[in-house]
Symmetry: C2
């Protein structure tokens, strides 16, 4: 029999899943804005961030209410407190999409990206959104295999990020310093977005299985 308590737990998982879906949409839209120099899309990402902040607060409040009223023990307590930390990761993912959108807007009507790295960011965007979608599924199903898949995808993101920096550092780079600075920071935003998705997967698996996954390595950048 499902108790009210278990319904509240399921509702909390659901809220986090929805919030994760919102960050996936934000990053997809931010990437579109970046690739097309699309002001409307960039503005939407920035304006919609309020929704992320509100959903995060709501999830946090529910988590606190669950701990205070239900006094859960051991594993369930970790899971509920973990939800608060996951909500913080998701908020940050949303903020990183906003960072991308803000760089797009500052360079309008110009494009931030020279042709040479457009494909690169299309790929980073694709991987970032896929990671957020996987994290969403992990949150809603607690599927540990999917969390392992997130780590693989993150390796792909790290590789894309490394290649990007190599391109920027190359003597043949012809697009000047301001473009390189923008692109270095953009690369960092995508990479951090991915790191937060990995962290969410790691946390859910830890809570579900008690297995301690290896810490995220601190990358070179």
């Amino acid at each position: 029999m499902r108790t009210v308590y278990h319904e509240q737990l399921a509702e909390l998982a659901d809220q986090l899943g929805r919030l994760c879906g919102v960050t996936a949409v934000a990053m997809q839209r931010a990437t579109h804005a970046l690739l097309r120099a699309d002001d409307t899309a960039a503005e939407e990402v920035i304006n919609d961030h309020d929704q992320v902040v509100a959903l995060r607060k709501h999830a946090e409040e529910n988590a606190f209410a669950l701990v205070a009223l239900q006094q859960p023990v051991a594993g369930e307590l970790r899971r509920i407190v973990g939800s608060i930390q996951i909500a913080a990761d998701l908020d940050r993912m949303g903020a990183l999409a906003v960072h991308v959108a803000k760089i797009v807007r500052r360079r309008l009507p110009n494009h931030v990206l020279p042709n040479e790295v457009e494909h690169h960011f299309a790929e980073m965007g694709r991987v970032a959104v896929e990671l957020a979608r996987c994290a969403q599924e992990v949150l809603m199903t607690r599927n540990a295999d999917k969390a392992a898949y997130i780590r693989q995808q993150d390796d792909e993101m790290d590789e894309l990020h490394r290649q990007l920096l190599t391109t920027l550092m190359d003597r043949d780079w012809k697009h000047g310093v301001p473009a390189a600075v923008d692109i270095a920071l953009l690369g960092r935003f995508y990479e951090r977005f991915a790191d937060h998705a990995v962290e969410i997967g790691r946390r859910v698996v830890f809570e579900a299985t008690g297995a301690v996954l290896p810490e995220q390595e601190i990358g070179t950048y």
Copy 2:
């Protein structure tokens, strides 16, 4: 009369304060390594990060034990769960010092910084360490005025960061793209370090007074 519970709460605050002190030392040393191209200092920052990770885990475990065993209500629950989030911010501050140290090591025996921006990073380093020291004091004394001072200092960091980007984007920049990319990322690491210190102050004040401080703005970068 102080109960065991209150002693445990005080011990938790103390642990976070110590951890914050460790991150201040890490950023001080990383800045020294950056300004002097000092391999030994950079290596120390990287190796000592284990200490940050261990202290964070220890604080987290103590916080969980407090919630599970003492079943605190309302305000105290928020404070204890807040400690777990603060420990995560501190872990991240340590990781950002490691990022600085890693950039230093990759360019050795060369200096990362052209003379032109050395003073700039000396200042950013000074403000970052001061912010961490303030956050440490806030954690140990719960002094709300000091938390407001953190926000002021953070404004100074944001201003330094803006100036740095202006310098990089200037047509007169003579040090090439690779140096600009390194410096843009370094600037970001100092700015994020400061943001985490502000977040700690914000959280402590919220827990101490119930006042909701304004959300951190999402900066342009």
